[in-house]
Symmetry: C2
Subunit: 669 residues, 2 copies
């Protein structure tokens, strides 16, 4: 797409930018070389797969949306296959196409084949024996079969032990019999399950020799490879329209005594021998790995969405003009309003804060997994606790941020062509999948309470919770230090204080006669708050510390801006959590008024570079896919151009006039 004339307001913003945009882009990509690779990848993929001539998906029926998604997904995987053949299919290409923003530029509302790569193949590799891998992986990589992964059931989500689907071993035929004993045991939600996949990994309760051994993975063929017809005993279909992701083809699946060979159970860990003897798994902790990996990846994904949303809203705010606060002056750009800056700038800062944290936890994840491979499981619970709360807070913040950006665009943000509603649909889904946020925060809370108790018994704590013993001893805190470092320290005080209060509450309730479980439940609203406080402290601290290191290596101009972003982000959260700071630190009213002015002045400083900062995210128009946010700022022209693509506008008079309106108006209905 060649760039036509740029909106003059937007051009002036760029002219006024005080730093080198490319320098920041390169940092965000991980170096100039990575930027070049990304751009090349985008060029190649979009040239082949991006299509502007189809009717936009927002006008299609649910069924047409699926059919369009299959068409595009097949073209995409055909391309990936070609890259494989050219031995050019690096991890980054996969990731960009399957999870990243490049993939969503092509399949904006979900990809029905993603789970084949993201869950089916990895599960066979992680849980299949060498023989099973040899049997399945070739055909799967080759796309001769398309698989998915079915765990969640109609009546059972996060609590995996409650799943009802059974796989009963029959030694007489050496087969497992899969069965769905109830309506609530139907598999429900897996992507691609409805009409796309012909194979599936099914998580089911394993029964052998009359005994249940819990949840295990089984490969089941769902559909005939030639005709695609569901096999006998397989009840499969789609679950219906959703808030978003209507291209993913989420399905349901029920079994009526479906038989599969014994070796279709994935047996790398646990086994069932031919005679039905169950052989136990060596370690169940290994499965934590995948869950953590997905959550860590999600944090990165969320950064992409926030960056897109804030790019759209910031550019639009530079070209939109409204009101006339000063008589005889023109209407200001809405970006000049402090209330608008308040909605947008924290979003820009969040991208940097979360990206820094994503890199940091990614390193930690790699360290821990390599420790695990050498048998050292010590830091696993810590990483698990961290990945839980980080996933919960980042997805929740991302959803709020995308929605705030949408509302900041006024009525035009409500148009699907702004792309903001679609993005919200994708981001808010992440608050529920891969562990529902409330459940995850309570898992982190369990770790925090345990850490507090260990600290009380004088034990040394793992690094990310070590502050508990440092500050957790007394409730009164040191003199308040009204600097970024002081605020970050204050957040650790808050977190430690909240954990301490929770522990005291639980103990008090137990002493009054409650069971531990009931005392925990009655304290759970406070526990969630403690868990959030812990996560905020970690995010702020990591962002602050890592940026201190980063700015040593950048130009003076960029350094100024990066440090302003840290100021903005940390002071924003201090003001948002004043109640906590007042309770658990010695911050004064005078400090608060200073913080407020600090926040307002930092916004004014950053306003100059707002457009430059979102330009640095370097998101192509095809990926933004938004009437409001394109690089040239021609928002009004694009709104009209997109409206003209509505099939309703193809005819001046809709047939419903003749059928209903005219008879109504002429009293002949």
């Amino acid at each position: 797409m060649y760039v036509t004339k740029v909106n003059t307001d937007l051009q002036r913003e760029r002219d006024n930018c005080t730093f080198n945009i490319t320098e920041l882009t390169n940092i965000l990509d991980g170096g100039a070389q990575k930027t070049a690779e990304r751009k090349l990848r985008e060029d190649t993929v979009l040239k082949q797969l991006y299509n502007t001539t189809d009717v936009p998906a927002i006008y299609l029926s649910h069924k047409e949306k699926y059919e369009a998604a299959v068409k595009k997904a097949c073209a995409m995987f055909q391309m990936i296959r070609k890259l494989q053949e050219e031995e050019n299919a690096g991890m980054e290409n996969y990731q960009a196409l399957l999870g990243g923003s490049l993939g969503s530029a092509i399949l904006g509302d979900g990809n029905p084949i993603t789970l084949h790569y993201v869950m089916f193949i990895p599960t066979v590799m992680g849980q299949g024996t060498v023989e099973q891998q040899a049997y399945w992986i070739g055909r799967a990589f080759n796309l001769s079969i398309i698989g998915t992964y079915a765990q969640t059931e109609l009546g059972h989500g996060t609590f995996i032990r409650g799943l009802e689907t059974t796989a009963t071993y029959d030694p007489s035929t050496k087969e497992f019999v899969l069965n769905s004993p109830t309506l609530t045991s139907y598999k429900w939600w897996p992507g691609g399950l409805a009409h796309t996949a012909n194979y599936c990994i099914v998580m089911a309760q394993l029964y052998t020799q009359g005994k249940c051994h819990g949840i295990h993975p089984f490969i089941v063929q769902l559909r005939d490879e030639e005709t695609h017809m569901p096999l006998p005993g397989i009840k499969v279909g789609e679950i219906g329209a959703k808030l978003g992701m209507n291209g993913t083809n989420n399905g349901f699946l029920g079994f009526e005594h479906v038989r599969i060979p014994r070796d279709f159970m994935l047996m790398k860990n646990s086994k069932v021998l031919e005679d039905g003897t169950y052989v136990n798994a060596p370690s169940s902790k290994l499965t934590y790995g995948t869950m953590m990996f997905v959550r860590v990846m999600l944090v990165n994904d969320m950064c992409n969405y926030i960056a897109k949303a804030v790019t759209i809203a910031t550019r639009y705010s530079a070209i939109r003009r409204q009101s006339q606060p000063k008589p005889n002056e023109p209407e200001p750009q809405i970006l000049d309003y402090l209330t608008q800056q308040h909605k947008l700038l924290v979003g820009i800062a969040s991208v940097h804060a979360f990206k820094t944290n994503a890199d940091w936890i990614w390193n930690m994840y790699n360290n821990v997994t390599s420790e695990m491979e050498s048998g050292d499981m010590e830091r696993l619970p810590e990483l698990h606790a961290l990945s839980c709360c980080l996933k919960a807070i980042v997805t929740a913040d991302a959803a709020e941020c995308v929605e705030r950006c949408r509302l900041a665009c006024g009525g035009h943000g409500y148009m699907l062509a702004s792309n903001l509603p679609v993005m919200y649909g994708l981001v808010t889904a992440a608050c529920t999948y891969e562990g529902e946020n409330t459940v995850l925060l309570l898992q982190t809370a369990r770790y925090l309470v345990k850490s507090w108790q260990q600290a009380s018994s004088g034990n040394t704590l793992t690094p990310t919770v070590s502050y508990i013993s440092r500050v957790g001893n007394g409730r009164r805190s040191p003199p308040w230090d009204n600097t970024i470092e002081g605020i970050v320290e204050g957040f650790f005080n808050v977190s430690a204080g909240k954990i301490g209060l929770c522990v005291a509450q639980i103990e008090k309730r137990q002493k009054s006669g409650m069971s531990y479980e009931d005392a925990w439940n009655m304290t759970s609203v406070q526990l969630i708050s403690a868990s959030e406080a812990h996560c905020r402290a970690i995010i702020l601290s990591t962002y602050y510390k890592e940026t201190q290191e980063l700015v040593k290596t950048v130009s003076a101009e960029l350094k100024t801006v990066l440090l302003q972003l840290v100021d903005l982000y940390v002071v924003y959260w201090a003001l948002a959590r004043l109640g906590d700071l007042l309770r658990f630190t010695s911050i004064s009213e005078r400090d608060i008024e200073q913080l407020q002015n600090w926040y307002e002045n930092t916004m004014s400083k950053l306003r100059t570079n707002a457009v430059g900062l979102v330009d640095a995210f370097d998101i192509r128009d095809e990926i933004l896919n938004s009437t409001l946010g394109s690089y040239d700022g021609r928002a009004y022209e694009r709104l009209m151009e997109e409206a003209m693509k509505s099939p309703l506008n193809a005819q001046p008079v809709n047939e419903s006039f003749h059928k209903y309106l005219k008879p109504l108006m002429q009293g002949k209905l």
Copy 2:
């Protein structure tokens, strides 16, 4: 719909309810007689108009959605016309069908003819001369013509003076010439404008004798009455797909020098004489009335949506079971988790709080308008300020509440068949239309700052801001009183304190050399916070006081529950605004810990009656329109039944398999 077997968990909840549900329903309706009337109205309308055999709208294309909406809207207005002929069309019937939940049960995603009744007819009546009313109203009531109302333009929203469409008087032909000089001057958004209405009230800059006289209303014919073809010079069409309301047929409209007769300008207030002389309006304050009316009505509407969302989520939480906190016990109902009660119960209380406030401001509105009719405009600014902040806070809270309910239903809340996503689309739209919330809060802030300055000069303040002079003198407040009354008083202290800080900030900035406008802008984030604090204080105080009166007239059992709801709501907000209370009152850490326990214990008490409380909202299954929330609690059965209605499930193999998937899998793509 006959009720089949009720889910046993849900039945047990009802058996355990401690109060008489019908008693509460009658109170909410305004008496047993009103309940009976509502039920009769629902029976009549739903029997005639509710249709379960069509393909659900969620599966249709954008174009099909519009066509289905026209069909249903025509049937609805045909029914209204019949009621008119039977002289049976009371205000309440109109309201229920056009704005209320009954209308949305039939036209779930918007009604393309609503603005004809809600804006076109009222504007002709309010702004037309007697002759103009005689000419237009008969045909409009009779539906011989269908009108809409076009104000907002592509480039201009809240700031009405900025509109660009021109209406220039030509005395030589005694006509106005309507013109759209730019792309941004195109009308954009009006409901029904795209393909439904054939007439339109257009707000345009009036030019006569070479001078602009500002915005005035003109009636323009858009389409031929017989053929429905757009008339020459009229550029009309639809603006495209949106987050919600895809049945409303929002349109754009441009004029290429379109001529209309002089008397198509609505001239009750201002006039243009035949020779082009402009005669000024007697009063422009009268137009405030309509805006305030719509905002007051909106508060009521929002109550309906919150009630629906919380009914769905509460019933679902009673039938959904998850996890196993205690070994050897069954999975608990998720309603038993305090974190779930935290998400739902405040929603139930919000319905009562907002309904009380809606009734209260409705009385105030009626008093003020009757004062205005006798020439007394004194309380108009106060009512305006109040309606602005109440609209902003209630719509924002409602959106958050509906979304919280959706997320509280986990993955199943993401299904469109839960109806929660569709409701969110409707509710969040209200945060933008009828005055964007940030803009409205700043309007209230202007009144608050003015009131503070008047109090400083020793003037008496109007009733709803009189607390400013009462508490605004000193920053230090009286000893904290840890009761509901004390908390409410504390919120007034917070509001007064924040207003005072804003005034001081603005003055300080002016002294440092800023203009008033710039000082205002730099303080605007704090001003919004002050405006919100004012509104919270009013809402809490009104809810508390009115309930004290109400409970004098109810049974002892119901009184207990209604007072628990007030406790819950007030303590919830105290805990949510602890930072403010700590800054502006003398609340202590000990008080806070007591409040926290008070909140937790009140939730435990209300949990018993949660299902009874939502049953008392008495929302029929057809109006809830939700797989998760129906009265019988058969959520899983309904999820499966609704899934089977997806057109994708009509065939076992989708044609995209043969076209794309199979060639991909066989390497022949």
